[in-house]
């Protein structure tokens, strides 16, 4: 195949994978669907990525970038037979600037490795998705990833100051800059979260966050999920924005506790995991606020992690939540809708109703502080009719979120999974505007086609006439 021959000339044989077994392995991310991979390449430099893009373009082969493949929305799964550009070997960390608190980072660097590397300097990378032990910075940039600590710090876009981008034409350009407010349009803002549809990010300038001098992690048991959610609302209304505010419902707590044995109260209706960071004095006063509001909402148990190992254990329960589900059922479907924080309780009630109506096993663990819901359906896909029920329920959960002004994704991205639900949030005109952004970067539709925007999104000509 001439495409593979040309790529092999560029990269040598061992970095162009096209054995059927390799293609099978690379045809999937952590979501549900499988795609069609022509070849998976392992470039080591931006120049190699650019050259590969030019080759693929010559053959009209769509290009799909991939990090660690932990994405849940199918963003790294080629819909049409495509070239997978695997960026894990672009994994250098360099030019750490302690004045600016920034570093240049290859997209293949693993999220947690970056923070570990910077630990001696007292700095870390704030976004911390649950998959942070495996997911890459490039993937975080692609999906504008979040994590529990985005409550105070914002999602990935707030932590990426610049990115080197290989364009759809195979040129290398820089979006953003080391200096603030680069003149012109802020292309960086749309490149982050574009899921590989605007080009391939080959290096990023990350903003680093100073490690807090003190941290307190609290685990609070509540009789009901409503009382936990009301506590979250009142904490924020009090003027305190904690580092994290996470809620797990009873089925989730039970699954997690059987898996990690972190001492979570399995008899509580819901558990709130709260973290406060800052100076010791600020942390002490923040803890006091959370404890007192929790008690006013009839908290059944308040436990504070007293040392780093206990804190790690409490967080392990939260971050291992999705793994823990495997003990319950072989498959799971994880949602990622977001609603205004004040709608949390109402939407949760409706979501439980949907679960009951479709007779599915549902667990909830979510970023309560910013209204980001993650209903998780545990199921066995081999059971006849089960997948249909799960998907019908999924659609309804999305709809009840959007009815109250919510949206499709808080941190996982749209990818393929939610592409055809975009109409629920956006009008044809809104989608057309997004399609214009895409066209400015990639008018030939080479970069991760058929993702994010539904087919036919670019639907008006310059005079507003439907194409």
């Amino acid at each position: 195949m001439p495409l593979i021959d040309d790529l092999t000339t560029l990269l040598s044989e061992d970095r162009v994978l096209h054995h059927p077994l390799d293609l099978f392995v690379f045809s999937k991310d952590a979501g549900v669907g499988r795609g069609d991979v022509v070849a998976a390449i392992l470039p080591e430099t931006s120049q190699e990525v650019a050259a590969a893009v030019r080759i693929a373009r010559r053959y009209g082969t769509p290009i799909v970038p991939r990090g660690a493949g932990t994405g849940l929305a199918g963003g790294a799964v080629p819909v049409e037979p495509g070239l997978l550009v695997v960026l894990t070997r672009l994994n250098q960390i360099h030019d750490v600037d302690q004045v600016a608190r920034t570093a240049w980072v290859g997209p293949g660097v693993i999220n947690l490795d970056l923070s570990k590397e910077l630990e001696p300097l007292g700095l870390h990378f704030a976004p911390d998705p649950s998959s942070q032990q495996a997911c890459t910075i490039g993937g975080n940039v692609g999906t504008n990833a979040g994590g529990p600590h985005c409550l105070a710090d914002g999602t990935t876009v707030a932590h990426i100051l610049a990115a080197e981008l290989v364009t759809a034409e195979g040129d290398i350009v820089m979006v953003g800059s080391e200096a603030p407010d680069q003149p012109g349009l802020d292309l960086r803002a749309v490149v982050v979260g574009s899921e590989g549809t605007l080009g391939i990010v080959t290096s990023v300038l990350v903003r680093l966050t100073k490690n807090a001098p003190d941290v307190a992690t609290l685990l609070v048991g509540f009789p009901t999920i409503e009382s936990a959610a009301a506590t979250v609302s009142d904490v924020i209304a009090s003027g305190l924005i904690p580092a994290a505010l996470e809620i797990m419902d009873q089925p989730m707590v039970e699954a997690v506790e059987h898996f990690v044995h972190a001492g979570y109260p399995t008899d509580a209706g819901a558990v709130l995991l709260a973290e406060v960071t800052g100076t010791p004095a600020a942390v002490a006063s923040g803890v006091e606020v959370i404890q007192s509001i929790s008690r006013s909402h009839l908290a059944t148990e308040v436990r504070a992690a007293t040392d780093a190992s206990e804190r790690t254990l409490l967080w392990k329960g939260r971050k291992a939540a999705f793994g823990a589900v495997a003990q319950t059922a072989p498959d799971y479907y994880l949602h990622d809708t977001v609603v205004p924080r004040t709608e949390l309780v109402d939407v949760m009630t409706k979501i439980y109703d949907i679960g009951a109506r479709h007779d599915i096993l549902m667990m909830n663990v979510f970023h309560a502080g910013d209204g980001n819901l993650h209903p998780l359906v545990a199921f066995d896909a081999r059971e006849p009719g089960m997948l249909d029920r799960v998907q019908a329920a999924a659609r309804e959960m999305v709809e009840v979120s959007i009815e109250v002004g919510g949206s499709l994704s808080g941190e996982h991205g749209i990818g393929l999974e939610k592409r055809d639900l975009m109409h629920l949030v956006f009008s044809d005109i809104d989608l057309d505007a997004q399609a214009r952004v895409r066209e400015a970067f990639d008018d030939a539709g080479m970069m991760n086609p058929s993702k994010v925007l539904p087919e036919g999104s670019r639907c008006f000509d310059a005079n507003g006439v439907r194409l």
Binding site: A100, E178, A179, G413, E439
Partner: protein, 345 residues
Amino acid sequence: MSRVAPTSVAEVTSLIEEARGAHRPLWFSGSGTTPVPDGHTVIGTENLTGVVDYRPDDLTIVVQPGTTLAELAETLGVHRHTAVLPETAPTRTVGGVIAAGASGYCRHRYGPTRDRVIGVTLVAGYGEVVHAGGQLVKNVTGYDIPRLVTGSHGALGFIAEIYLKLWPSPEKGTTIAVSDIAQARDTIYQPTAALETENGGFVYISGSLASVNAQADSLEGSAWDGLLWPDPLEENIVAAINVPPRFVPDAVNRVRDVGASRFVAQHGVGVVDVGWSDIDAGHISELRSWAEANGGSLALHRRGSLGDGVPRWGLAPGTAAIQRRLKHLFDPDGVCNPGVLAGNV
């Protein structure tokens, strides 16, 4: 130069349609911070003011573009909230600040203004009303058009509504004069700002009472209650030199060398605002070349006696080709603040 002040989004849409038909350029303007070039019809926002939807418990607000910073602050003050917009003239409009992508001194702690723009309604240059984002503090549904529009200077269309993410107002603020600003900035955990002016170095701390007191105790120097920001630069010529933060001390030396009347340097951020009563074009070019050689830029916000001979922006960005395509796709007839951006986009 004529000025029109539409009272509705529908009126804005028809004004844009008319301008396209007549091939007549428009200039969207808030309080008029940016001077209007000749030959444009000004579309003012003074009749599009006020709060559309404030949800205190969600920490979000939607406002019309002509709302002044003073009006916004008054509304938010009731619930002790802040949108952390620039500490500039209170008569400036929210629409103007967002269009300019202007950030204030609290950026060191809260990030740029752009990070708080969670949604927009844009009357695009092709005449359609586009909604993007929402009243949600976390949202990754599609391309981030709200952040793209922030700092677009009206080049993509008219910003008709702005959705902002809010913060609780800090309980306390304090301002401390320091002798070594770099060291002071490093010593404390989370300074709100670290500014150097012609009067010396100042560290600003804000937050909860406990947090401010604890951090302030670790610094030596005269301290004042409250965040005492420098007065706005009102010289005839005002420039923003933006450089990677490590070049700020160098920038300060250079600015002193060319006799700036006033300057405010944001340590750790990389912005150095400078005011001159008068300066010759050669010095501006030298400063600009130096900033650009170090990965930065110099923007002239007020040109005074320099006139149009010295451009507002310097080098076109390396992504000018993509920016031009984007401009063309959003404003096919080039009627929305044409040439307002760097690289004549």
